[in-house]
Amino acid sequence: MGSVLAASSPPPPGSGVVQGAPGLVSAPPGFSMPSVPPPSVPGQPAGETGSPLPNPGTYEECHRKCKEVFPIQMEGVRLVVNKGLSNHFQVSHTVTLSTLAESGYRFGATYVGTQQTGPAESFPVMVGDMDNTGSLNAQVIHQLTSAVRSKIAIQTQQHKFVNWQCDMEYRGDDFTSAVTLGNPDVLLGSGIIVAHYLQSISPALALGGELVYHRRPGEEGAVTSLMGRYTGNNYVATLTLGGAGAHATYYHRANDQLQLGVEFEGSMRTQETAVSFGYQLDLPKANLLFKGSVDSNWVVGAVLEKKLLPLPLSLALGAFLNQKKNKFQCGFNVTVG
């Protein structure tokens, strides 16, 4: 939890995800860059000689489209109240009651600045939230120049700093590169450096690589991995191969109501593989969003989200069942505002 490598995994469920107020970038206080508008449609004809390749997006986003189709495991009761105090400032209160983990209260605040770079993006973005035990998560994201975006994030557990990282991303015409420096400690001589590079080879194909170098007093090591992403008409296929294992995802949009995702993950460290299949059903007429998933570990799960419309209320019910171990977990979220 909290390692810089978590930058490639989906953000922690629900904790202070900002939504609703116009002009805000959804920036969950995990360690992932906010989702940016998708790159231009592949194959779009350009008016110049030698049609330029589109910018491929960031390295972390490649697997995200498929991961968003899968439901998240919910446990206990969560009440989230979001209140927008102005166009730039939003506050959220979260009360979590749970049987397996600690119950608590979390206060979150989001500030979005005035420098507007696009229809849905404004910078700087400052997101922070604090727990009732005093644990703080904070992120500041700023667009330094038109092509360079930078992020600083810290995470503490009560008073102790658990994670502090700085991130810089450069977007070129047809490539994106990013460098992340995680938990640098000059006194101990330890830290983690992650470098990403993603290049558009053709309007549909993007290839990239990642290099992770970590150092502690006494040991150092590096892990590299390569990634390829192919975007078709209504599907996206991504493959990541590296020293730590293989990860392949396939996302398919069947029609405007149904989206499917298949994910294959194999790890060298634990010598295990897993396949999961997920689907998302979107019925705006019934104000319903349903996500279900079936796993090769005999885990079946689903999340149902319903907007109770006259009030700005939304209810999410989740259930996860592990058939092999016969363990069941269910929970529900109520979001106000």
């Binding site: 079936v294 689903a302 149902l304």
Partner: protein, 133 residues
Amino acid sequence: MAGIEELSPAAGPVETRPPEGEIDEDEDEELDETILERLWGLTEMFPDTLRSAAEVTASGSVTVAKKLYSFSRAALWVGTTSFMILVLPVVFETERLQLEQQQLQQQRQILLGPNAGMSGGMPGLMPPAPVKM
């Protein structure tokens, strides 16, 4: 009693007849074999291969029946719970939506007359007629 010999199972089917012609009850009491053992003894007339094949078949089919039973129990449970989690909520919600839409349509029909308000209904089936009060 002295005339009755001990019967061994390998002796093959043997008719026992008390030499003194005692009544049947005594015969049944003094014989050390139950009916089932006597019936089992009858199977010894078949050759060994047939007997072993029949035994293997019988025990195999009992095992298969047990496995099939436990498999179908587990499959039924897994299938039912997975269907309940993955499919049932969507089915409930779409049925509710359909009912609501039907109700709305009925209300609109009552309010505005039978031909108006048929949004998305069958066009051209009923020609629009003026509503007379």
